[in-house]
């Protein structure tokens, strides 16, 4: 048990990411409020990015930005640059999706006067659309 806990402590970033991922996924799927669904999506993506970044972190090494150009950079100095690059790409994707989805929410509100998806579905069934 203490073994488990100490591993969990070592993996604290990933563990937090898991919790955030689940909170985000819950909100994305089961919250009827569209804006909170989107917040859930952003939380979920943030959690994944945190997981990815922590996969590239190495204890005691620094960010891969070279300042001393006299020698060839050594692997021992810098952390793994790949995850950071991937997350950079990912963040752009998630902000684009957020903007698109928010525009949809605005239009839907204009049409149905609510942001609650289940209420919208109910009013659609009544043939209000």
């Amino acid at each position: 048990m203490s073994d488990f806990l100490s591993t969990l402590w070592t993996q604290r970033y990933m563990f937090t990411a898991v919790i955030l991922f689940c909170i985000g996924a819950f909100s994305l799927v089961f919250n009827p409020n569209l804006i909170k669904k989107l917040i859930g999506f952003d939380l979920m993506d943030g959690a994944i990015y945190m997981m990815l970044t922590s996969a590239g972190y190495i204890e005691g090494r620094i960010a891969p930005i070279v300042t001393d150009f006299s020698a060839t950079p050594s692997v021992e100095t810098y952390i793994n640059p790949i995850p950071t690059g991937l997350v950079l790409t990912g963040i752009v994707v998630s902000v684009s999706v957020t903007a698109f989805a928010l525009a949809l929410v605005v239009r839907i509100y204009k049409k149905y006067h609510t942001v609650y998806l289940d209420v919208i579905m109910a009013s659609m069934k009544k043939g209000v659309d």
Binding site: I23, K36, V106
Partner: protein
């Protein structure tokens, strides 16, 4: 250092829970903004300054601005609807008189 980490990570989880569970959409968006700011500190801890800058500009800046714009738009619409409703009601009352 460990203390700071626990504090930040705990704050992230607390923000996420508040954002998801709180009734008010306004609070949700504000806590999400807090989440983004703390996230950018965490990127610094994880030695990813590129991400810290991007997260601060995008998560706490652009995303939040878009959320607020949406909320404002919705409020505006709601107010104009209410006004319209009011006008219609008054017109109806006058008609009845």
């Amino acid at each position: 250092m460990a203390f700071v980490e626990v504090l930040l990570l705990g704050f992230l989880v607390a923000c996420a829970l508040t954002a998801v569970l709180h009734r008010s959409t306004m609070i949700t968006i504000l806590t999400y903004m807090g989440f983004s700011v703390v996230m950018s500190v965490i990127w610094m801890l994880l030695q990813a300054p590129d991400l810290a800058i991007t997260e601060a500009a995008v998560g706490a800046g652009v995303s939040t601005a878009l959320y607020f714009l949406t909320l404002q738009k919705i409020r505006e619409l709601k107010e104009s609807e209410d006004a319209e409703e009011e006008r219609r009601r008054k017109a109806g009352e006058e008609g009845r008189k």
